[in-house]
Amino acid sequence: MVLSRLSLNDFRNHAALEIRPNAQFIALHGSNGAGKTNILEAVSLLVPGRGLRRAAMSDMVRAGGGGGFAIVAEVSGNVIGTGVSAQQPERRKVRVNESNASINSLAEWLSVIWLTPAMDRLFADGSAARRRFLDRLVLALSPQHARHSSRYEKAMQQRNKLLSGTVPADPLWLDALEQQMADSAHAIQAARTGLVDALRDQLQSAPSGPFAVPLISLVDKAGPAEGDLAMIWRKGRNRDAAAGRTLCGPHRADLDVIHKDSGQMAEQCSTGEQKALLLSLILAHAALVSAQRQAPPILLLDEVAAHLDPSRRAALFALLAETGAQVWMTGTEPELFNGIGPSAQLLPVGQN
């Protein structure tokens, strides 16, 4: 999966920008505030979700522009577009080959994985961010994961709403919603377990490099979700009503990561080691997706090169080259990308 063209209109600080990638590495360099990360954010909007900043759509509209924005990309001959109009600046629209398409269907065309400075705290922060990261990895292997997740969320919203009512909810209605949730939950859990198992195998078989190797496992922090979820929810209605939310289910799952050599929990490792663990995960994932879907995901690495010493940087470039993935990187100085060699396309940002 590679982008052969990316064009932005009124997106963040870019009034009109067109990039035609012609190398495996696209190295965006420029001073702070030039809009390098904005370009990565645009690419991250070509898959389901809210992009790498999780910002509101209206925040991405260029101030002083027409009130909407458009991102158009070409992927193996297909034209994928997304954006908002001035009339509905929060409503993200998707076009694939000149027809309207759903946001979730984007996963069938493209998978994009990113690493940003904000993710330095991924292991230390709450489980929601880790779950989003996990689901992004899953989505690259199972495009229908996005549909199952939104259906699950919708059904759960309805259940929570019913349980929060002043009058007791119709038990048969709850049965019906819990059955819908269970159907989606089953698909969500199967996809996540499949990904984590395959990724664990991939990490074990990979030769040890300069980056710390993680041991990963899927956990349910709210207790074991084994067995019949519909039954668990049915029995837990009073408890969930008191809590004001559904206490158990795949929306509470978490990704546990341990430093293989030291045996430490990832959140107890140093910042540098945590970053290395994430890089190892992403590299193994790219190899996995490449093997299973015949095309590696597109990788967006924001300010990753700057925090590595030259020898680690060179090792990272070599490992990334091996995955065959199209890699979009940012850095303040073009010299950061010297180690890549001829497969780098250096693009200055914000100098015109």
């Binding site: 269907s105 069938e108 495009p143 229908q144 549909r147 259906r151 919708k154 059904a155 919203q157 309805q158 259940r159 709403k161 019913l162 119709d170 048969l172 209605w173 049965d175 019906a176 919603l177 059955q179 819908q180």
Partner: protein, 198 residues
């Protein structure tokens, strides 16, 4: 632009589904030009419908008689009932007269977020029809949306107590559809619902 009356007509028309202010003005202009051949027949048809419009107390269909034309049709099989969300779904199914039985219109779908509860739908009427006996099969023809399917599950539980066959519309490959163009969710559904050949 035009007189107050014509403006009012354009305003009223612009509220119709599928029309906006611009297309409403085009319709008004067309009606004025074709007064004899279009405006008068339309007016008579509207009047007739307005005078006789009634919701069928048996099935919830909207028609010009109560019971509705479908409920009184002696050629239809009274032993099977097809349950739909809205009248538009009934029309879609009955356009080609594929279903030989009777219908039951719920008047919507269960939605906690929109505040549509079971008692807001024509569900008791359906249970009463089935409880009265003489029904062999109930077809749940809800939309394949979350809310449609939740409603189908709910009805299945409500009707469980009766000795009837409960069936549901199949979801999958549309006739004339090419697999290559289907989304993964639809393909997965079609694979799950695969059946023996012949």
């Amino acid at each position: 632009m035009a007189s107050q009356e014509i403006d009012a007509l354009a305003q009223a028309l612009s509220k119709l589904p599928g029309l906006g202010p611009r297309s409403a003005r085009r319709v008004v202009l067309h009606l004025m030009k074709k007064r004899e051949s279009v405006l008068m027949p339309l007016l008579r048809a509207l009047e007739q419908v307005e005078q006789r419009l009634v919701v069928c107390s048996t099935c919830g269909n909207i028609d010009t008689g109560n019971p509705c034309g479908i409920c009184v049709d002696p050629r239809r099989d009274i032993r099977s009932i097809c349950v739909v969300e809205d009248v538009s779904d009934l029309w879609a199914l009955d356009r080609s007269r594929l279903f030989p039985g009777k219908y039951h219109v719920l008047g919507g779908r269960l939605s906690a977020l929109d505040g549509v509860r079971p008692e807001d739908l024509n569900i008791e009427g359906l249970v009463a029809r089935v409880a009265a006996g003489g029904v062999d099969e109930v077809v749940l023809a809800m939309n394949a949306t979350l809310e449609g399917q939740t409603t189908a599950h709910y009805l299945a539980e409500r009707l469980e107590q009766f000795p009837i066959r409960l069936t549901q519309l199949a979801h999958g490959v549309p006739v004339g559809g090419e697999l290559d163009y289907l989304d993964d969710g639809t393909l997965a559904q079609a694979l799950r619902a695969r059946r023996p050949v012949g």
